[in-house]
């Protein structure tokens, strides 16, 4: 093998044993010189070939190319397609494009930029903000393209510039397409926004191999549906061959391949429900997801506070950006998608269903609740919300009155990995697969999860081990549990739909403008959780009891329909033995309030999850918001404005979770 690979040199070395080191070095020198000479010949041949090519192009083909260059008054201009329109399920427009004039400068053709801009300011309105943005664009861009100084010129400004145009070489007025979000903040986290294409977007476009199709395009989807459905919305860029005069200005169009507009998206959202839900939040922070359990249509998707997507289209100015980005209210955070919160007591009906399915509990089996739970041989008391306890508790009461001790005991008898297996069928700790990017997985704890979580070198074996105490706090939705609002909405929808799970989706159908063809997004049933109807009936009966006579009764006084629901309160802050008094705790450390619900109870057409950040008790802060939405969906009426917080009668305060 060695001989084959390295024959010539090796032979010389091996055979010439008597010649010594000097001889070897000479041989090596000789070999090297020969190699270098070969390289030299290659260089000469290659340069000779290039020279030959130049002679061919510049001498023999000169006349041909000269004619081409002279008649090369034909410039190829991309025509940017109109971006698709986004509407809600009833056709309410959420995002649209319109054409407007911009004043653009080609920096390479302008000698003194500042002076030119000063002179332009005398003709059109140029604010310091416009100058700042222009300078930023100038720094960022590497090409010699023209950059907008002002967008959305008025007709007056266009006319004034047209008269003075000769004074401004390198400055032009162009008609461009702009994106507008007519509803502003409403559903801003769903719709998202577009922005100028940056380096990272260029890489993305290259990956799709769409570089040619984005010639002339300045904008691309950055967030939300605008991002996730970018390739549907963008369309196909057209090409126009134009004849240009000696100054390079277009004088005549020779041929034109028209652009194909992007596809229109119809969302599954219903803006009426969305608006009722957003108003119900008032100034509170949080999220709400409402799903049609029979097909996965997302009917409302609220993340409060929101933001005005129109601010982002032209590149947000730094003052507004700081306002949004530095706000402690985090208006840019998509809470239903990217906020993971402990589920609190909303987890109880799901755990109860698991206990029925595994046979660990029967509906009538009772426990005695003294107001706390202790592990055998341990001093620590896991307290119930209600001092003194709920007394004798069966499954129905455990859900309706939200009894912690019932679930402490259940958790102490259930292996966490069994819980994990059942709960993951309901989508907990997994992405729901909703059709916008950035969804969080959340945490549904298991032994394996804890091992992975604390695998780092900073942790020791005892940190990685699963303890029974971990199971106990997980058993009431605290501990390691952390779910996104969309996960909870998805899970309650599965229960409402008797175990049949649909992937939640925001886009309902895609319409191609050219052919008029409408593609429905498939409502895929992802799987069916194997549940016994009699077990489902027990849980649903208890869920109906919650707004009727349980923890949410105060929020559901005199409802004209039957709904199922469950309150939840997620603790952020451990009060080391003190009693939690809402008003005394710093606002940002207060408990998160949850409510999950579906209605009507017999044939659900809506399932939802509401989260109010630092809202306190679920019954008090979250349930009234859910009621407003359910009222609207089921009766068509609702009172405008934020949902009132019902007073909690003192006697039930401790049960209010």
């Amino acid at each position: 093998m060695a001989r084959l690979l390295f024959s010539s040199r090796r032979r010389r070395y091996d055979d010439g044993g008597g010649f010594g080191a000097l001889r070897n070095a000479e041989q090596a020198q000789f070999l090297f010189k020969r190699r270098l000479a070969i390289a030299g010949v290659v260089v000469l041949v290659a340069f000779g070939a290039l020279f030959g090519r130049f002679v061919y192009l510049q001498v023999f083909q000169h006349r041909h190319y000269q004619t081409l260059a002279e008649t090369n008054r034909i410039a190829i201009v991309p025509i940017v397609p109109n971006r698709g329109v986004i509407t809600d399920r009833n056709g309410v427009v959420l995002a649209q494009s319109y054409s407007a004039y911009t004043l653009e400068i080609q920096p390479s053709r302008v000698k003194n930029l500042e002076e030119t801009i000063d002179r332009l300011a005398a003709i059109v309105d140029v604010q310091p903000r416009d100058r700042k943005r222009f300078r930023k664009l100038l720094d960022e861009t590497k090409n010699l393209e023209s950059l907008p100084l002002r967008t959305r010129l008025t007709d007056d400004e266009v006319a004034r510039f047209a008269v003075n145009r000769y004074r401004f070489p390198g400055v032009e007025i162009k008609a461009r397409l702009f994106r507008q979000y007519p509803l502003g903040e409403v559903a801003s986290h769903v719709v998202g926004y577009i922005g100028r294409i940056n380096d990272r977007d260029v890489a993305r476009i290259e990956e799709w191999d769409e570089t040619a199709n984005y010639k002339g395009s300045d904008y691309i989807g950055k967030v939300g549906v605008e991002l996730a459905y970018e390739r549907e919305l963008h369309g196909t860029t057209g090409v126009e061959q134009v004849e240009v005069d000696s100054g390079g200005r277009a004088v005549r169009t020779l041929s034109r391949t028209p652009p194909v507009a992007g596809n229109d998206l119809k969302l599954s959202l219903d803006m009426r429900i969305q608006q009722v839900a957003e108003e119900a939040f008032g100034a509170r922070r949080g999220g709400l997801v409402a799903i049609d359990p029979t097909n996965g249509d997302v009917l409302a998707f609220v993340s409060k506070p929101g933001f005005d997507p129109n601010l982002f289209v032209e590149g947000i100015d730094s003052a507004n950006w700081e306002l949004l980005n530095d706000s402690p209210d985090k208006p840019l955070l998509n809470r239903p998608l990217r906020g993971a919160y402990p589920p609190g007591s909303t987890i109880k009906p799901f755990l109860a269903l698991g206990a029925l399915t595994s046979g660990k509990r029967t509906p009538t089996q009772v426990i005695h609740d003294p107001g706390f739970f202790q592990l055998p041989g341990a001093a620590h008391r896991f307290n119930d919300d209600k001092p003194g306890g709920h007394g004798v508790v069966d499954m129905y009461k455990s859900i309706v009155a939200s009894c912690d001790t019932y679930y402490y005991i259940l958790a102490s008898e259930t292996d966490i990995d069994d819980t994990w297996r059942f709960m993951s069928q309901l989508g907990f700790g997994q992405k729901t697969g909703i059709d916008i990017e950035g969804e969080l997985t959340g945490v549904l704890p298991s032994r394996e999860w804890k091992r992975q979580r604390f695998a780092g070198p900073n942790y020791r074996e005892e940190h990685r081990k699963w303890y029974l105490g971990d199971s106990i706090s997980a058993g009431i939705g605290q501990g390691y549990n952390a779910f996104t609002p969309i996960q909870l909405a998805h899970a309650i929808a599965i229960i409402a739909n008797d175990g049949v799970s649909f992937r939640p989706h925001l886009v309902k159908s895609i319409r191609s403008l050219g052919s008029g063809e409408v593609r429905e997004i498939a409502r895929e049933s992802t799987h069916t959780v194997p549940l016994k109807p009699e077990h489902l009936a027990v849980i649903k009966n208890a869920l109906v009891g919650v707004p009727k006579e349980g923890t949410a009764a105060a929020a559901f006084v005199k409802v004209p329909y039957v709904s199922g629901g469950k309150t939840g309160t997620a603790q952020l802050y451990s009060l080391k033995g003190e009693k939690y008094i809402h008003q005394k705790v710093d606002e940002r450390l207060r408990d998160h309030a949850w409510y999950v619900a579906y209605a009507p109870a017999d044939k659900p057409k809506i399932a939802l999850a509401v989260l109010v950040e630092n809202g306190g008790f679920g019954a008090q802060a979250a349930a009234p918001i859910a009621r407003k939405v359910l009222d609207y969906v089921l009766t068509g009426q609702t009172q405008a404005g934020p949902a009132a917080m019902p007073a909690i009668p003192p006697s039930t305060e401790d049960e209010s979770d």
Binding site: A2, R9, L50, H64, N72, R200
Partner: protein
């Protein structure tokens, strides 16, 4: 006083190869003249390029004063750092706002593949010197691994163009170190023979790119357009050209990338065949001087290093001019010492500085 000035002058010039410097500056001069025209007489860009030149000359001087043995000692650490950075790009590169070729060092952004252009030939030259006189086929196998690892990392960034160029620089060292002809011929034959077999396995877009190279009108908005417009620019330039600042292709916006990768089309349009031949001749002088330095180098390390640098200078010039004149597909390679851009200018002058060092120290090391 005069003595001091004389001393300073000696320190400044004693390691500088006048021939190499004059030829390089002549090419840079051609570049600045062309750049002025290509950017529609933009003074800011011209002064930017001049600033890059000043900085590059400083680095050239520094490298010319570093003895080759010192460079040899830096070879292994430099190579390892470059590899670590490339892995860093693969792992964290996406976080940086920009393409995945960049690594954010906190104070500056840096393209590790640029470092690898120097580090790989250094490493290979060092390796072959270390085992000089007893090089066997296993050393070539190890060298192949040293090449394949960075090439793979850069290819998956993805930056196929740079990956191929770095592979070429590695191959040059192997070739000069005496890689068996059987392997070279065998691999070439294998590559050529495999082409028809690979075709059905290519992605549609990859086939499309190859077809666009054969027939540029297939892709009017993409690289095909660049290619046909560049050919028109060159061809219409004729023997004497249209004159400086008078290229119609250039100034009517038909030529894309005209101050970077396609600057040679501007030059060829305005200065014609005479200009192109002159530039070709200047590159030939540069490469020829590099080869003479290589020939006179005292150690195997400096021979291999100087040879690889020289052949890379040739490769860049050839690939770029071949691409602009339509005999090679459009790949993103700048024209050495001429295209606008500071990074390329800096690395090229570092290479020239190393050549000068090899020349200056050729007699100081006993063989």
């Amino acid at each position: 006083m005069l003595n001091l000035v004389g001393h300073v002058w000696t320190v400044l010039t004693r390691r500088i190869d006048t021939f190499l410097l004059v030829v390089s500056l002549a090419i840079v001069g051609v570049g600045l003249i062309t750049l002025f025209s290509a950017t529609d007489q933009s003074l800011p860009r011209l002064s930017n390029q001049a600033a890059s030149l000043a900085f590059s000359l400083l680095l050239m001087w520094i490298f010319a004063n570093i003895p080759p043995q010192t460079l040899a000692r830096a070879a292994v650490p430099l190579y390892l750092v470059a590899i670590v950075m490339l892995v860093g790009v693969a792992l964290f590169g996406t976080v940086v706002n920009g393409s995945r070729r960049w690594l954010n060092l906190g104070f500056a952004r840096f393209q590790p593949s640029e470092l690898m252009k120097v580090a790989l030939p250094l490493m290979l030259a060092w390796y072959f010197q270390k085992f000089e006189g007893r090089i066997s086929w296993t050393d070539f196998a190890i060298a192949a691994v040293l090449i394949v690892v960075p090439v793979y990392l850069i290819k998956r960034q993805p930056d196929l163009g740079t990956a191929l160029l770095i592979a070429a620089s590695g191959f040059y060292v192997l070739f000069l170190a005496g890689l068996s002809w059987k392997i070279i011929v065998g691999l070439t034959a294998l590559g050529a023979g495999a082409a028809p077999l690979i075709w059905p396995h290519l992605h549609d877009y990859q086939r499309e790119r190859i077809l666009t190279f054969i027939d540029p009108t297939r892709d009017p908005l993409g690289t095909g357009y660049h290619s046909s417009q560049a050919s028109i620019a060159l061809g219409s330039g004729g023997v004497v050209g249209k004159g400086w600042l008078n290229g119609t292709q250039t100034h009517l916006d038909f030529l894309p990338e005209r101050h970077t990768d396609f600057i040679f089309a501007v030059f060829g349009e305005e200065f014609g065949l005479l200009g192109a031949a002159l530039l070709l001749f200047l590159y030939l002088l540069l490469v020829g001087r590099g080869m003479m330095i290589t020939l006179g180098a005292s150690t195997l390390f400096s021979r291999l290093l100087a040879g690889a640098i020289t052949l890379m200078l040739f490769t860049y010039a050839f690939v770029n001019m071949g691409m602009v004149s339509g005999v090679l597909p459009v790949v993103g390679v700048p024209l050495p010492l001429i295209s606008y851009g500071g990074t390329a200018m800096v690395s090229l002058f570092i290479g020239i500085g190393i050549l000068m060092s090899v020349q200056a120290y050729r007699k100081l090391v006993a063989t």
